[in-house]
């Protein structure tokens, strides 16, 4: 008995010392490990994103409560857990794989947005670039039956041209990239719809394109047995290609002279010019790369075999959700992987909401609310940063004319 109590007191003692070690400042210039940890950029990003997600979920829950209090709890559970409510291992795995495939284009759009953002540009036209790439993918696979890598490369080039158009306008005519890219979204939509409807890829009888899995199986992405392992027939290497490019983006931005120059242009165009950087080239190139990244999403999605183009009458949400995903991921490519998965998880769960209790728009509303709050991550980040540096202090009790501490005379 005695031994055990000593044992526990020792453990308690060491835990206490561990915390003391964490929170005690090392010396005057070096703050404690805990403070260092909280001041770390990455940690701050993660904290910010988590706060955003929590607040978004909370507001979503409240919305559900307002619309129909009875089903709120179960509805909220559906949205949060999605396929994890199925209680069958293989089914859960299958739907997990499906969500991952759906995540792929969203991740690409998020990468596109964040790359442009790092170069000081706001690419709202990821949707348009994605559309053009989709068109090229569909034509290359359904009509020309080209192998997947050729389709992918051509689609990327299409996206890049679309992006560089915005960059050209910005560099030479000083057209705001937000305006031109959002306009080009619509131009892309109608042109793509026109081309697809006139092409042999269009199946008039069902009013959508032919199924790639059935009609152009030679163009499908390699699956490497992943489809059998997960039980989801369309799960291929698409996601891994996207993740590979996320890593490439990190390396380009942080490790190369090219990334250094792009980011310098983004921070200070005049300074970049002074340093001998061709800032017009930088702008055009960064928009082209941004467009290429958005374009990458289309082949990775359609060539999984799952995608069917239906000629929508509005610009797809993909590019705009990419903005949310990029910001929620703390403008970090690796963060974007997780944030775009989370968004896709929520979005596909919305469709599973009980339609007896909630009308079909409710799911969109909730998801919209959550995504909307996720976009606050950028602003909140500054706040968290200031908080951790002690620049903002909370005065819980407001006193009038609080006497100031006088430094004691020695």
């Amino acid at each position: 008995m005695n031994n055990i109590s000593i044992f526990f007191s020792k453990i308690g003692h060491s835990i206490k010392h561990f915390f003391k070690y964490l929170f005690k400042a090392q010396n005057e210039n070096n703050p404690s490990y805990a403070k260092k940890f909280i001041r770390n950029n990455g940690v701050q990003s993660v904290i910010t994103s988590l706060i955003c997600i929590l607040v978004g979920l909370l507001v979503g829950y409240i919305t559900l409560l307002i619309i129909n209090p009875e089903g709120a709890a179960s509805g909220f559970q559906t949205i949060l857990l999605n396929f994890l409510t199925f209680n069958r291992g293989e089914l859960e795995l299958k739907y997990f794989a499906k969500t991952l495939v759906n995540t792929t284009p969203l991740l690409c759009c998020a990468l596109s947005v964040l790359f442009a953002y790092k170069a000081g540009l706001f690419n709202i036209g990821a949707s348009g670039q994605y559309l053009v790439a989709s068109c090229i993918t569909l034509l290359c696979s359904l009509v020309l039956h080209l192998p997947w890598y050729v389709c992918t490369i051509l689609a990327i080039i299409g996206g890049a041209i679309m992006g560089s158009l915005v960059g050209l306008l910005k560099a030479y005519f000083n057209v705001n990239e937000v305006i031109s890219s959002i306009m080009l979204n619509w131009i892309a939509l109608y042109v793509v719809n026109l081309i697809i409807k006139k092409s042999p890829a269009w199946n008039d009888s069902v009013n959508e394109t032919f199924n790639i899995a059935e009609n152009a199986s030679s163009s499908l992405l390699p699956t490497l047995g992943l489809n059998n392992a997960t039980g989801f027939a369309y799960f291929g290497i698409g996601l891994f290609v996207a993740i590979f490019f996320a890593v490439v983006v990190i390396i380009v931005l942080r490790r190369t002279v090219f990334g250094y120059e792009l980011m310098a242009t983004g921070f200070n165009r005049n300074g970049a010019k002074y340093a001998g950087i061709n800032e017009k080239r930088s702008i055009i190139l960064s928009m082209a790369i941004s467009g290429a990244l958005a374009g990458l999403g289309a082949p990775l999605f359609y060539l999984s075999g799952m995608g069917i183009y239906t000629c929508p009458s509005v610009v797809p949400q993909m590019g705009f959700d990419g903005i949310s995903a990029a910001f929620l991921g703390g403008l970090n490519p690796i963060g974007a992987i997780f944030s775009s998965y989370f968004l896709q998880h929520i979005m596909s769960a919305g469709a599973k909401l009980n339609t007896d209790m909630y009308c079909s728009q409710t799911a969109d509303l909730i998801v919209g609310v959550i995504i909307y709050l996720c976009a606050f991550a950028g602003g909140l980040r500054i706040f968290v940063n200031k908080l951790s540096n002690g620049e903002i202090k909370f005065h819980f009790k407001k006193k009038k004319n609080r006497p100031q501490m006088l430094k004691e005379d020695k």
Binding site: P31, T256, L406
Partner: protein, 569 residues
Amino acid sequence: MLEKENYILEMLHITKSFSGVLANDDVSLKLRKGEIHVLLGENGAGKSTLMSILFGLYDPTYGEIKINGETVRIKNPNDARKYHIGMVHQHFKLVECISVLKNIIIGVEPFKEYKYVAKEKPSLKDGSSFWKKIIHFFKVSWFYISQGISKFLDICLINKLLTYLNKKIFHFIDYKKAREDVLAISKKYHLDIELDALISDITVGMQQRVEILKMLYRENDILIFDEPTAVLTPQEIDELMKIMKNLTSEGKSIIFITHKMKEIFAVGDRCSILRKGKYVGTVNIADVNENELSDLMVGHHISLELNKKPANPTDVVLDVKNLVIYDKQRKIDKVKDVSFNVRKGEIVCIAGIDGNGQSDLIFGLTGLESIKSGQILLNGTDISSYSIKRRNNAGMAHIPEDRHKHGLILDYRLDENIALGKQNSKEFSRFGFINFKARKQYANMIIEKYDVRSLFGVYSNVRGMSGGNQQKAIIGREIEKNGDLLIAVQPTRGLDVGAVTRIHEQLIEQRDLGKAILLVSFEMDEVLNLSDRILVMHDGKIQGELESSKTNAREIGLYMIGAKGEKHE
């Protein structure tokens, strides 16, 4: 016990720490009514922090602020305004695209008041013509109607209501009253100003006057001038000194931050000195001389005299022939047919009043702006069509005038900034990848050699560094580029005496090593002390070329205003 003095402002034992680093350590400042109190200190000595605390931008860690003997707490600039503290910032806080009057009243606009004002009845001279009488009839009827309505509104309290609503909701501005008030103030303090001009159209000196009027319009008693003379011409500085004297004679108290000894001795009454965040002491200016003050400031003896050997120029490095630069917006030539050369081992200075084409000339030389015609020869090759990168590679180094706009990427770290302009060189890149180790080593070398002080060494954020240290980093970077030609535009702008001397020494050292140096400066002392040849620019032309050993400030001044020198037409 000593007799208690009446101070209008006392800052006692102010201590401010930024995440463990003390920016102010037990600093006390006592301001008498009606004095000009100079605040002196090196760059980064904590002057700006102290003033920011007074202005409510920072909260002090310890210490108290007393105004007229009462302890107050200034939480934000609005509080500062409440206690009648006003500040002229080094970089003016004016709205470029609206008029002077609107800039002055911004934030404290007088709202229109509606009330009955008895007016004079229009009168008619005897023997007027028939038509005059008819007009008079209408005038009189309008007089009765308007006065009647006005009186009626007053009696029914509708005017009161309108005034109240305007104050709370509508906010119609009474420009007439504002104009009268501002004119009254400008007359009282002899501040000539054009009220309807746009800020973007008036000179820097005028803008400063607008800032001063802004403070006076807010009825401030404590005025802070943060390096007000850094951007002014000699004439404008004299004018400002006069204005400051005027202000104190009217009972205002001034805190004056400056690095220029001449100004301190011209207007200062007392001087408080800060050194590395610590309070050194307060002296009466009448009791000390220049050297004593600078010793107090730096903490050890520095010599203000430059040790300069006569120049020994050899080959021509930069040869500019008939350079013309065109302004697309104003549709005039900014630089008109300028020719000069710079030789190895000499410092050539372009003097002149700000805005006479010096900046544009430099932009043209460095490639930031395209030229209309003419030739720029660097070591015999025409570089006028080269890109900036090629010019840099050809041996041109450039210390830019605006360090925030051109010289630095403020969001980058110090080492990244030190590599700026050399990012593509073999030294820092391998197959397009950055060589982090070499870059860090190089940055550390420059930090050590040029005494760049910052919190976290190469990893410190440049935005958070003091202006002087930012400038040192740029100067180190450009000198170490080892080009044949060094173009330095205002290299010592806003730096303290010690740093200025050091930079001057470094420039002279470079000259003696055989570099060609082209200097642009608006400060007469710098022009005279540092240069071997002086080119004076006026209205886009080179008005005259002078040997610095054979001229004086007066003569240069005459060239500057165009009163002397060759006429090109």
